[in-house]
Amino acid sequence: MLVHLISSTQDLEESVPFLRAIVKALHDQGAVQACSWIEPALHIQATNKKVFESLNWDLVVQENLAAIKRTDVVVVEATNYSFSQGFQIAAALEHKKPILVVARTSFKSRIISGLKNNLVTLKSYKTQDELEKIVRTFLRANTIATKDLRFNFFIDRRVHHYLQEQSEESGKNKSEIVRDIIQRKIRQKDRYGE
């Protein structure tokens, strides 16, 4: 599972233990970060803060938005509740990504609590242990299991007759026939790069 972790570089030293706790929880669940920015950012801040000013921020923003597009879920540490976090949450919602927003403060007095969207989970935490537990629960709830999934769909009479005939001819059940057809289609797509 690919996860994009969003926070702010403001007050990074203060929030770094919590960000590391999130990363630890991700790894515990076998997930990986879409871009590992925490340690490099911390290094830059520790050595020369002015480097931040000379960064190519166009690229930083582009990379963050691209990471949101390709990840399965987004985790936002939003204690300092900044512009960039709001911007990226809106982007994640546009791409229909499940979003966990965590903060060491309450959301009750903030407008984010009015964001009634099934994709958004808001959780307050106090300790690193609590935070790790929240992240693990969120990831488990949003993991598409590796076991097979049930898929229901409507078919018309013609498709039904075709599947019935194929089933009788081949001795396979209808589901197997549909799966075979889809798998052939996927293999074709791979071969021709469609």
Partner: protein, 195 residues
Amino acid sequence: MASNQLRIHISGSGMHLNEDMPYIQTIVRAVYENKGSVTRYWFEAIRTRHELGISDEEADWGVIHQENDDVITQSDLVIVETTRDYFYQGYQAYVAAQRKKPTLVVTRSPIKGRFISGITSKYITLKTYQTEDELAAIVTKFIKANTIPTKDLRFNFIIDRQIYRYLREKSYETGRNKSEIIREILKRKISSGSI
């Protein structure tokens, strides 16, 4: 009822309203001086809430968010004051650009070395200011650059044979040209409130 006036949504933080109010009012003044109208007076709602002693925790944020979301859709332009670098201004700036609304983001804070300086959407204009005069000039310039002129606009579109035959017949019957017939149909539709 559709009107010719430019509808503008202003987004700003209510967290330091007393301090920020002169700048919000500057934006409001510039909007009206440029023949626009403000779509939502959220700052007045916050003042009233505070006067009535309603705490932020008691506010119905679901309704407030929904109202903000709706006015972004209804607005022609969006102006985001983000000196406080708060979450919701970032959220609204993205949503406005996503809905193809020309969006002006203004701040008194330095932007160098910050995420905001890397936003390159063609719908977002980012400007820093220090004084109310400077802010008024920025807002005026933005509104002027995004005002659809009041004179008529050329509009081309593809029609199929059926529509073409209908317009030709109507034109023949009424003595009006086809463009007039379409304009009348649209105006009737607008007056009936179904748009």
